[in-house]
Symmetry: C2
Subunit: 490 residues, 2 copies
């Protein structure tokens, strides 16, 4: 455990980077842009996966697995898709190495060159719709509601742990529908699932909306998104759900026979969240003393630390501590009892605080006399004395309280950092300060890009169910019917 890292105020970016590494969540590997997700970080990701997977299955989806490699020619079939991804593709060109003639190591065997290069998937629409062509004949084969948990590769020049890495882990849903309406309903339903996951599990409030044409997924007619605000006032896109229209069906010739026997192109959606959520989780809640994890995603929810002077005391304390551990576990709480004699209690307190364990229970011989324990919560740092009797129910309640409090704090932060700008001067000042800025925009890509060039702010989304309100574009003064959400973003 090492706490020698900057505060958020000192250097937010370095604070994040150091925290991720020192809290054993992830580290950079020797492969450029690729990270190693360490066990502690991976166990948080597993909790995210489990919660999302359950929600996907409850909404009728099934998991499947498609190839890692995509033939280059598949890529070219949907024009805007290839434009979006061609510049960041890892390309497999050979399938064999051989001993180097100089006797040092191995070299590529030039005789084993692929006829057609393979792309390591940056996303799987093309390979999946190429399969769907054979799976779909009639309306009876629809809808297809499939999700895939997978690794993907997008070659990035500047990477940051979890937030932007060349390889990342994600899930990608790919659904096929008979009608446009059903596909749009699906895309919106999955945005709801992501919203619920972010709020309920990650304790992360999000804005929900659609992207402008500029910011849409390559190949989508509409991109829905959830946007969260980090503690430095920058926005982070936390999940997207795309209505793809018939673009991929047309590119891969996927038609179905309607009830009336007519041939129609199939309608599509795709939607995904990734290990980027790990970055959002850290940046939204953690503080200058380390991680703050919402109980629903914390690998260890409660740590019990014995206070003792000798072996005899440890034996007495351990008996009670292990009983408490069992009682808590019976309520579904994950508990660690750390009785290591290699470290002092103070060191352990700091360690678990740093790792974001939501509840710490300390117990010594005097506590046992009083039938009490000391309970400290990570989010507020408050300490209380609890009677041992009924401690399982009290801790269960406390974990709920902590989850709620972390969420409430994030909501308050978002509210306090959401502004309205009515002039370009005001807008620039607010954007510089950080936060979501609601402002009128004339609806053109030109204006959007000019604002981006001048301020680095992008339109994060056009909120769903947005209030209609006449106004003038902050840049051009042209008429506008609604405010959109601007921010600088990760």
């Amino acid at each position: 455990m090492a706490k020698d890292f900057p505060t958020r105020a000192d250097n937010y970016s370095q604070w994040y980077q150091d925290l991720v590494v020192k809290a054993d969540l992830a580290e950079n590997s020797d492969v450029k842009g690729c990270m190693v997700i360490k066990p502690y970080g991976y166990s948080i990701w597993e909790k995210m996966q489990a919660a999302l997977d359950k929600m996907f299955k409850e909404t009728g989806h099934q998991n499947a697995y498609f190839p890692l490699f995509i033939p280059k020619s598949f890529f070219s079939k949907e024009a805007s898709h290839v434009d979006g991804f061609a510049k960041e593709c890892a390309v497999v060109t050979h399938y064999r190495l051989k001993a180097s003639p100089d006797g040092k190591g191995v070299i590529v065997d030039e005789t084993a060159k692929l006829e057609e290069e393979l792309i390591v998937r940056p996303t799987s629409e093309t390979i999946i719709w190429n399969s769907y062509r054979n799976w779909i004949q009639s309306y009876r084969d629809l809808p297809i509601l499939i999700n895939q948990w997978a690794n993907v590769v997008r070659w990035e020049m500047r990477t940051r742990l979890f937030l932007r890495t060349t390889e990342f882990l994600w899930q990608e849903g790919h659904t096929a529908h008979a009608t446009k309406e059903e596909a749009i309903e699906e895309a919106e339903k999955m945005l709801d699932v992501y919203t619920e996951f972010a709020q309920t599990f990650m304790a992360l409030p999000v804005l929900r909306g659609t992207k402008t044409a500029n910011e849409r997924f390559a190949g989508a007619l509409e991109t829905y998104c959830i946007e969260a605000l980090m503690q430095d006032g920058k926005a982070l896109q936390a999940g997207t759900s795309h209505f793809l229209g018939q673009n991929f069906a047309k590119a891969f010739d996927v038609k179905y026979a309607t009830k009336e026997g007519k041939q129609e192109f199939v309608w599509a959606t795709s939607w995904g969240v990734s290990t980027r959520l790990m970055g959002a989780l850290v940046m939204a809640h953690s503080d200058d003393d380390g991680l703050v994890l919402p109980p629903k995603l914390a690998p260890i929810q409660v740590v019990i630390i014995p206070i003792y002077k000798n072996e005899e005391q440890l034996a007495i304390v351990s008996e009670v501590a292990i009983k408490i551990k069992k009682d808590l576990e019976a309520k579904g709480i994950s508990v660690k009892y750390d009785s290591r004699d290699t470290h002092k209690p103070g060191w352990k307190f700091a360690e678990y605080e740093f790792k974001g364990v939501p509840v710490r229970i300390a117990i010594g011989p005097r506590d046992i006399e009083n039938q009490t324990v000391e309970v400290a919560r990570r989010d507020t740092k408050e300490k209380s004395v609890y009677q041992i009797m009924d401690i399982d129910l009290k801790v269960l309640h406390l974990l709920d309280q902590i989850q709620d409090n972390i969420y409430k704090k994030a909501v308050d932060f978002q509210n306090a950092n959401t502004f309205r700008a009515d002039s370009y001067e005001e807008f620039k000042e607010l954007i510089e300060k950080g936060g979501f800025v609601l402002a009128h925009w004339d609806g053109t890509s030109e204006t959007e890009l000019k604002i981006k060039d001048e301020t680095k702010a992008t339109i994060r989304c056009i909120p769903l169910n947005n209030k209609m309100e006449s106004g003038k574009c902050i840049l051009t003064g042209n008429p506008s019917t609604q405010r959109v959400v601007f921010a600088k973003a990760y």
Copy 2:
């Protein structure tokens, strides 16, 4: 659903291939050697993963994730490892595509050539031990007990769904230890875990043993394996656990300080099972009518099919059927109620039989009058009439019986197809017939390879706790102290 596929006796290989495709487990993709795992197949794999993952965690392992790409130079560091894998590596050489000058599609951008090629991992020892170097300083950092669920790529010229594919899914454990003894203990413990998984979940009896030097993992000092017998008399290696000695520690310079302050190289193991187990599951138990799935791995354990003539009857039947479904689900049984009016009961019976659903319950108006249902089990095709009262407990018991029976049948098959050969003539006859053949071998690679050339049989393993017995090598007549297990293998 399509049953037009060969019997096992007709053409075992085609029977397998057709069954996998027609039962919707997997299909070949348009990417050479790569498969698509379809939802029904993937849900069996998810059950395998869940069971294994639980066992790994119960034995103290944690999951993590390491990069997909391995720098070519890492590969060369362990000599026998690179020899073993160099000929089947997918190589990434470029990181960008660009528009083709002829306006047709995209081509590789030659200006985006990697300085050092990246290998798509065929296994992760090298990239992981390169990380472990930074994780391990002293004996306090040991053991490291990590597992990774991942996709890997080994370029194969001749592929077969699940059994041998260019990309496959697997788990790979990679552990680091302070002593040789502890590492060997770990490798053996994980062989025990695989054995228990195969027997308890897959209903698959296995032989346990070590590989000969020829058949060892590239870089291992000892490879432990479990070997199963398929219905055509061919063996299938179902899982391996490797004692790697200090080979990778030396290659990647991973040392630790002992309690006494001495610098020592770290000891290693690795162990893995893959989607190949899906192939073993199908080939071990299924029959000429389709899949036979052990209840513990069946995505649907019980299907309920209503028998009715009109809407009114369906309503009456459905009420009871749904009540039974809920009762079974409350006992943790996964149940599907198929009340689709697009297919007749007979079609549904055949469909679920083909898909290997262990128990089928049929229920019609007359059954309801009698307060009974018809229960059919997939493994023996026996039908019985059950009282509806207590049906949950009876079905739970039946599922256990089916699991046991499938296992017993496989054990009987293995016993009936395990032979002893005392001369080379006898050996060749038995190998031709199929099955495990126990025979004396003089312990040399030369003899082993000659037998392989002449008979296609390989030494599957030298059984653990093998009975010592003097004899003469079947090929050379040289003295031998024990019989080893030969078979033709997948």
